[in-house]
């Protein structure tokens, strides 16, 4: 499966960085998932759970709302508070 770079950034530093096959997020207009080669997008995120699909299993993060930017096959998620489940 094709993968892409994802990064989760918080004011206290980078929480996750690596190759993923998909990231599911609580978008302001409903939950959605980004796969490889997604079109460039900037979306607001609501409070909820972010699901990161890594090669060695899925990881859940709870976020307090934030933003996601996808450009050139790189996903950057910005959130003020992120807690790994």
């Amino acid at each position: 499966m094709s993968t892409f770079q994802a990064q989760i950034l918080t004011p206290n530093g980078s929480l996750f960085e690596g190759e993923v096959s998909g990231v599911q997020m609580p978008g302001a207009m409903g939950s959605f998932e980004v796969k490889a080669n997604h079109a460039p997008i900037v979306s607001a995120l609501d409070e909820g759970t972010v699901l990161v699909r890594k090669a060695d299993g899925d990881v859940n993060y709870n976020i307090s709302g934030g933003f996601v930017e996808v450009a050139k096959n790189k996903l950057t998620l910005l959130a003020e508070s992120v807690v790994e489940e």
């Binding site: 004011p11 980078s14 460039p40 900037v42 450009a71 003020e80």
Partner: protein
């Protein structure tokens, strides 16, 4: 003539002081390293936010409440970031003087009319401005004991809410910017209202290619949510910079204190030896003259 025992006591006091200042320097150095690390960690987040905000602010003609520009500035809020502890040289005083100077220059009307409000961070800032009869509406002593992003965002959210409500028409942050370990830049920055040209200008150099983004739900909603985050990170950055500067200032202050103590100790040792020498000389000459007096008999 100085008493031998007095000098000896002074030497040991100076020596003790020297040990304390040396230890404080070490502690400050360790804390400085940690503070610098935290500063570096916020950088990717901050630059990304800046990037997106710059792109949005430039492109959209949004009338966001946070972007409002008052025709007439009726009241001003200033957030002053000092330190909780002393013994850090001119760190606090230099900043406070700079604040007073810029108030004098730009906001003297507000100061006289009582429309200048202050929020102080750190014990020293609160004490200084309360004593000088500034209108300190909120003070946060002990802020640096538990330095967390949440506490700064709480502070900033409140300030931006007050700005949106019209309680304040301008918001400033005064802090020590970390230039290097031995040098701080005193800064009084205007954070609200947001100046769009400044943001887009500073994000220009960061590889700004025209990527055709999809905005979800739309750019206005995103900007509305993004601006508070942008403000929060500004304050957080200022607090971290100030924290690192404080440790740097303390380190150099304690370093020069140690040096001074060393000089003083050297001087005192010289004095002590001179006094000892002259005491011995006197003693010998007394013995010799005593023996001569006896031999004369």
């Amino acid at each position: 003539m100085p008493n031998l025992r007095d000098i000896r006591n002074r030497i040991s006091t100076v020596n003790n002081t020297q040990q304390i200042t040396k230890a404080m320097k070490m502690v400050a150095a360790a804390k400085l390293r940690k503070a610098q690390e935290r500063m570096v960690q916020t950088r990717p987040y901050a630059s990304k936010i800046q990037d997106v905000v710059g792109r949005l602010v430039g492109s959209s003609s949004v009338s966001n409440p946070i972007m409002r520009n008052a025709d007439e500035v009726k009241s001003v809020l200033m957030i002053v970031i000092g330190s909780d502890r002393g013994l850090c040289g001119g760190f606090n005083n230099n900043l406070f003087k700079e604040v007073e100077k810029s108030v004098e220059a730009n906001l003297s009307d507000h100061r006289e009319n009582g429309t200048l409000s202050l929020v102080t961070v750190g014990k020293k800032a609160g004490a200084y401005f309360k004593k000088r009869n500034y209108n300190v509406i909120e003070s946060h002593p002990g802020f640096f004991d538990k330095l967390e992003y949440e506490s700064t965002s709480e502070l900033m959210n409140k300030a931006s809410q007050q700005f949106v409500d019209g309680d304040f028409d301008e918001v400033y942050i005064a802090f020590n910017e970390f230039k290097s370990v031995i040098a701080q830049n005193r800064k009084v920055d205007k954070v609200l209202p947001i100046d769009p040209s400044e943001i887009s200008a500073s994000s220009d150099d960061a590889s700004k290619e025209a990527i055709d983004y999809i905005f979800e739900p739309d750019s206005e909603v995103i900007l509305e949510k993004l601006l508070p985050l942008h403000l929060n990170i500004q304050l957080w950055k200022a607090v971290l910079e100030s924290n690192a500067s404080e440790q740097g200032a303390r380190m150099s202050a304690m370093d020069s204190a140690t040096e001074n103590a060393k000089d003083l100790e050297r001087e005192l040792k010289l004095k002590y030896n001179q006094a000892r020498q002259s005491a011995i000389t006197t003693e010998i000459s007394e013995i010799v003259s005593g023996a001569q007096a006896l031999g004369g008999n």
